[in-house]
Amino acid sequence: MRHLIFHPCGNFNESYEQELNIFETDFGRVSLWVGLFFVFIIIPLLFKTISAINSPYFFYVLNMTGIAAIAVVGLNLLMGFTGQISLGHGAFFGVGAYSAAILATKVNFPFWISIPAAGVLTAFVGMIFGIPSGRLKHLYLTIATLAGQFIIEYVLIHWESLTQGTMGIILPTATIFGLKLDSDMSFYLVIYFCLAVLTWMAVNIVRTRYGRAFIAIRDNDRAAEGMGIPLFAYKLLSFSISSFYAGIAGGLWAYYMISITPEPFNLFLSIEYIAMVIIGGLGNVAGSIYGAVFITLLIEALRWGTETMMNIGSLSGIAITIAPLREFFFGLAIVLFILFEPKGLAEVWRIVRSNFRLWPFSY
């Protein structure tokens, strides 16, 4: 048996294969299993046994985090690895939600088909809005995706025969292999299972030739083209993969929410996702999950803060006016991270880790 690596004091890679290892140390591998064990066994058990925390609210927060994490992992593939900024991911998320809803109500697709189908449909839509990337670079492309956001929003509201406009669609209860997904717990397991699988996929996409081509395009698109990477095809591929993730997340969201309307899929949602990517760490798959957790917890903390102030009678006046500060804190978080830690929480976590590892000689 080979030696387990826990605390290397340097980079001892001897081949390129080693550099492609997912885990730098076996510590990472162990902590992954511990994390999975925690998410899939400990947390459900805790919720089953301790009734004090077994409230729909806790599950709601957990599930929202999971759904956001799925979308953000996808967006990170596009922004962090391929270097294309998309301001339209809120709308792509909406396309996913509506595809799942329409497939479930009009075509009667079961849950386990309509979710991937929603992902594929969203991937197509994402590809359409990725077409401008063939001619446009960075800032022009950002503007094109912004236009995409508004156009999709408009279509969702006004294509009434299909989306029922502002009336919204009510979805049937999801069933998977005959089991009804009608409790928060079952949704929790499904969402986190999807998150685990999709994260695993993302990590591995990055290691394949496609992922390396994405990184080459991000770092220098001219050089990448010179090395024989067809830019347009790969950018489109990146757009569609990332929209696929958004579509899956949207589909899960639609089933979880039961009824959907076009309002939530606005520009603010896109900015929320971008904030998650940046705060988590551009170009770091695990970072996307940190970012999703951080922002969701931030939102919930702000909501909790305003609600407790509402309950204290004398402060309730302040609490009502504080509500829009949510957007302010969002912006503040983005700005502070860009100014002080542009690589995001993933980098903070790496520094903390290496501090432990190199102790007492850390810098």
């Binding site: 401008p132 408009y154 006016t321 500060l325 969002f330 542009p342």
Partner: protein, 292 residues
Amino acid sequence: MEFFFQLLITGIAIGFLYALSALGFVMIFKSSSVLNFAHGELLAIGAFIFLVLVSWAQLPIPIAFLVTLIGTFALGFVIERLFLRPLIGEALIEVIMLTVGLAAMFKGLMLFIWGGNLYTYPEFLPKGLSFTIGGITIPPVYTAAIIIGLIFLVLFGLFFKYSSQGIYMRSVADNQPAALSLGVHVRRVFALSWAIAALVAGMSGIVLGIINGISVHELSAIGLKVFPVVILGGLDSIGGAIIGGIIIGLVETFVSGYISPSIADIISYIILVFILMVKPYGLFGLAEIERV
């Protein structure tokens, strides 16, 4: 036919407003190649400062106007100093995201202070500005918009063409290292262009506020309308911004008049996508030539 002319005039006036709003945006892009997503919020800040001075502090209009201009000028300076300067030389994605973050910050702060309500200025435009041509009445605000727009466009044209600061700005936009080596104070140029852009934005915010009323959501949405305008005209062309603004204004009014008002909201974005696909550098923009 009367309807047509009414729409034509409204369209041109709205187009001038768009052009005016786009001016500050183009200024920032021209000197520092920063795509400012917080432009709508700058418009709103100017409009609200003026509102506070006029309706709550009860200052006379000209003084309030001057104070607003000074205030927005200073604000632009501060924004550049605090947020943009540390990012000089950083990747584009970070600069764009920073302005997105700034936009969210400003918007949240303004919603916190003023809420999402619609405010209006007290009536102060002279009635003499209202014209009647062939049975069509032009309200005074539209005349004011066109006049203010024209004044500023001429001023900017002259500023960029003849003043030394304007020439510095153009040189920085054209080739930053060359400008540096010729002794242009690049950082000061950036600071100045942000300050002037914020000033122009504040002023267009006031004009927009006179016409549509002042609300955070409305004004920041107009900040996003600037994108079709500048893309159509070419991101770095002031003349293009004017023509782009007028075209977008006309198209929007005609579509909302003859087809449907709801589609008018997004027609400019549809044009935007089309332009980006066909002629990404706009009608008058400079095509970027990349050398490896």
